[in-house]
Symmetry: C2
């Protein structure tokens, strides 16, 4: 089966799947492993730390794989973001901007002609990025990890309601980690999926073995996990922090925003409920083992093709 979508065409990758960004450990080796497996890999620029190192990392990645990869530039997290962008322009790698308004980088990206995908937590923010000229957008559902806000919708809503609003290719994210999620997102109208958590439970992911095993044994219906992932700050607390946004530098304001988010430890339910995985999104439900990235993707694609083969409702046409 040929997994051709506007995303595979845009990035020239085999499958309509993107690796997520990982502040602190999204290094080039991991991106190369993803690219080798047929997905669009992603070097997280903040992991490279400096523009000089990013330049080296891009070159190392390019030597290691002929597959498709790009660089993540997350506002408020990535240091020296303008210089990081210049490195991407020089090296001609697609960029993924993320989290907050991409307005400041947009003109330079467009002028450079780089492929540009922007990731947000709300459909309206991604529509704004499309207006600024983004070539594709990603909207992360509340099932995912990172930048929660009290208006974030679940992945199912982002795809059914949100995706048709975009002219550019749309990538679904948030709790997606298996063949069914891939099929569902595409069937609802996404051009691809982005996975963060699911890739973390692979041999190549440069995190510790304990957190990988934690994810294997955790389940999305653990109420403490559900609480950590899906609960949001009270709209009042959130609004208070948002009011300070313009008056504080991003690196002071962002940690303040993070502090109003609930954590698993804030859960005041039954004390007998076991501790959930401390990392990962609701996609932990898809994690049963710790394969290599290639094994993970090969299995996922094989399962997706087997499932699609059995769809009486569509194959009967």
């Amino acid at each position: 089966m040929e997994w051709k979508t506007r995303i595979t065409e845009m990035f020239d990758c085999k499958y309509p799947i993107l690796e997520g960004a990982y502040a602190g450990f999204g290094n080039w080796e991991f991106a190369a492993a993803c690219a080798e497996a047929g997905v669009h890999g992603l070097i997280t620029a903040s992991t490279s730390r400096t523009p000089e190192q990013l330049s080296e990392d891009i070159r190392s990645c390019r030597k290691a794989t002929s597959g498709s990869f790009g660089v993540n530039l997350s506002f408020g997290i990535c240091p020296r973001i303008d210089e990081m962008l210049e490195v991407c322009i020089e090296e001609k790698v697609p960029v993924e901007t993320a989290v907050y308004r991409p307005d400041s980088l947009a003109p330079r990206i467009k002028e450079s002609g780089l492929k540009w995908i922007h990731k947000t937590a709300r459909v309206k923010d991604s529509l704004h990025a499309e207006e600024l000229g983004a070539d594709a957008v990603i909207v992360v559902g509340v099932e995912g990890v990172g930048f929660k806000n009290p208006e974030q919708l679940p992945t199912f809503m982002n795809v059914t309601w949100g995706a048709p609003q975009f002219k550019v290719p749309f990538v679904a994210a948030g709790g997606i980690g298996d063949a069914r999620g891939l099929l569902g997102a595409l069937a609802m109208g996404a051009d691809g999926i982005m996975m963060g958590t699911a890739f973390m439970a692979t041999k190549e992911c440069p995190t510790n073995e304990a957190s990988k095993q934690d994810m294997v044994s955790s389940s999305p219906d653990n109420p403490r996990l559900r609480w950590r992932v899906m609960s949001h700050a009270s709209p009042k607390d959130y609004a208070e922090v948002m009011r300070k946004r313009g008056n504080l530098p991003l690196n002071e304001w962002l940690p303040m925003l993070e502090r109003v988010q609930p954590s698993a430890g804030d859960w005041e339910g039954d004390p007998n409920v076991p501790e959930p995985s401390r990392v990962g999104s609701l996609a932990v439900g898809a994690i049963k083992s710790v394969p290599t990235v290639k094994e993970f993707i090969d299995n996922m694609i094989r399962e997706a093709e087997e499932l699609a083969e059995k769809w009486e409702w569509i194959n009967g046409r």
Copy 2:
């Protein structure tokens, strides 16, 4: 395209779609309109109020349509539920039990040989119903309306993670209201979908025109709507009410549970955010007009077939 799934086979209906239950207005005329449109209709027994009236309503519905329909029996809402079940047995109509543990009715339903589908808010509760002998199960995602609990997962998770755990046919619900939702749910492994909100914005629905127009103009990203639908009681408040469950009659305890749920009015964000629709789930995103039930279903199926026709990723096989 033939929409054959285990659900269309079980209920002998044209499309793998079920009408939701509506306490107070889910009458036989509305169920008949749904059945006529090719979906499995549902008479809400609490709307008929008495077993005698339910018996009459089933007969009226049967005269009005040769389509497929059943009866909803919601624990804690439906009066004289055992007698209501006896009527269903006598009239040989499939039953949908809902909300709380179906243990008390299960032996009688099984003995009668009726087709039985049970609806819950959590995968684990539906697995319990399967053990009791349910022929099919429905799990409602947090995007839907009714019986929220702090462990409820989004629809996407219920289908990707939950559906494969069931041996019996699985029906996805919660925020589903259009062709994309139908395709997505089936692609992820559901055997069918249930829609509540989306059917409310049809001409035949016996509610007021104002609430239908409210849903047309509302949007799932209205933060007050999102708050009403998706926020849950604090696990502490919820646990306190749950502790009283065994010591109070259901009709005293259930309203207590409902009172700990947030409402749109509890939203303490920006006062300039417009009032959302007071009824309906996040499926309001799919509602653009108020067609007849038949128009609604015909359009939805036509759109689904047109979308599937364009799937390069699957048609290229």
